[in-house]
Symmetry: C2
Subunit: 374 residues, 2 copies
Amino acid sequence: VTAAGDVSAARLARIALGRIAEPGQVALLESVHAHGAEVVREALLHDPDFGPRLRVAEPERDLEEASRRGLRFVIPEDEEWPAPLDDLATADALNRRGGVPLGLWVRGPLPLSALAGSIAVVGSRSSTTYGEDLAREIAAAAAEAGRPVVSGAAYGIDHAAHRGALSAGGTTVAVLACGADRIYPQRSSALLAHLADQGAVISETPPGGAPMKMRFLSRNRIIAALASGTVVVEAALRSGALNTASWAERCHRALMGVPGPVTSASSAGVHQLVRSGAATLVTSGAEVLEQVGAAGEHLVDVPRGPRRVRDGLPPDQLQVLEAVPVGVGAAIGSIAAIAKTTTARAEQILDSLERQGLVRRADAGWRLAVSARS
Amino acid sequence: VTAAGDVSAARLARIALGRIAEPGQVALLESVHAHGAEVVREALLHDPDFGPRLRVAEPERDLEEASRRGLRFVIPEDEEWPAPLDDLATADALNRRGGVPLGLWVRGPLPLSALAGSIAVVGSRSSTTYGEDLAREIAAAAAEAGRPVVSGAAYGIDHAAHRGALSAGGTTVAVLACGADRIYPQRSSALLAHLADQGAVISETPPGGAPMKMRFLSRNRIIAALASGTVVVEAALRSGALNTASWAERCHRALMGVPGPVTSASSAGVHQLVRSGAATLVTSGAEVLEQVGAAGEHLVDVPRGPRRVRDGLPPDQLQVLEAVPVGVGAAIGSIAAIAKTTTARAEQILDSLERQGLVRRADAGWRLAVSARS
């Protein structure tokens, strides 16, 4: 048996097990991770629950048929296997789902190993223009930094994320709950065709498999585990994006949330994530990159607002300026006393400040000019 | 010398020192806190910097005149002194300002001791309708919970906070940077008159003192120290409200920030506070009360979104429901296999789910009804 033969046998065993197990069926996936797919397949052949379906599975035929339709089945033994997915072996189960997938069905030319350092941009289908704009901006920033984008294929935030990455010439992949050969939702057909042509459409569900609620929940763990960090752009209180967020936490990935108006139901789920401390608040693509970067990489300047004239003043001038009242004039003697300087020196400085447009003569003294207020 | 005499001598010494020291002049305030006002006054009588002005101070006259104008001077020796202000003795200086104030000039009937447990609601003058609505809501919630509101007297968030507290029949006080007898800004005259009548207008600056930039910075420490927690509703990147936030941190008070659209400059400063971990994100008055409450007080239910029909389903029905695809019909045999039940039982359950409006017949099988999607 050659090494290629080993990989081939493992691949067929995993495809066969995929015919009897639902995505994310944690007990089975744990066994496979611990003992290998071939051992588990052998052991289950005579299991009363799994045996009958396992005995009629035809993994060679499944693989051939999938291959004819442009799909490949990537398994942990393959070089292109995305190593971050192995973290799912130790992440706690959620909703009775979890585990390293048996493999990933892939449609598209992108090797999955290229997803290292990717950023997941997820959110509600019921998104607002505000959320879509931000998803686009963040995905574009990720793409410009050379980081692939990972999302689902739903309308709303998912779509906006893919569009943003593509507009910046970046790589973007969709992870589906149904088979990677299926077009769901129908409105995403153009996007899925484009991704299959340029990037990758990925699924743990075998080809032909229907989109089911529990498969979405299992799918979310793949999105979170593939990416170095997950950004939740908009999510209502029961949005599936919060399930993806939970997976990002379980996998110890950076989890980020974009705030919005507290009056927007589409941001309520995100606010809860930030409030509880699970997610870091981010307001831009640059801040997202900072979070997922290695120490010292992509550090964002803390935004400081526009520089003001007064910032450059020497200490003695600043001291006098600070002694000038905001709304009403003060006499020069009073200003000098507060600034702890002589009247003569105060006069000199006030003249200079007036030339800089920072103070104005008022009443019988001086007051701040509008430009010097903050 | 009677006890009353002691208090009276201390009060006069503090008023006299207030004539030579700027609000928040930390070195002098530290001396007074350590040695008492009378000792410091005595020591400074012959100081070349302070002596001349100190020798001409007339604290008895100041007090009499202030009293005629309805002002009193509350000092640490008084029963109504708000004890939380003493935390300023140990809080680190900021912008070379800090310290326990010499005293507070007060206009209005409210005893300052009534400010225990108060909530500071602060923010930009350049506020939006969104921010003002939230400031009002939060202040009203504080008032309804019996907590006084503390703020400045600027237009924008400060005004909205006072209005919210008053609309809920609560107590609210304004802390000014100018003398408590002055009307600044002019647009706030009606508000200040009302507060002086019903609550209190407070200032560390002696009566008649003009509003100066550095007095605003000193004033902010009083707002933060008086309150149990500070909520920043809207603040641009260089807003003075961020200075108040710094003081809340220095005094180890609860610091909270209300998020907004990341596209709103008025929320940028708040987002920075939350992002850095300095402030906790809050989205409602109830969440503010939870933060400032004692352990177990005012606990907010984690918002969960509307309850859905599927939440109440027994496990076997839920298992079948989860096996029904979202967008396209699946045959009953396939649904039964995934749900690990018999075709007969699956049929029975699907009929029941159909009556509950959760599934629909489609193609040659079943699919989810719109109401069952999430």
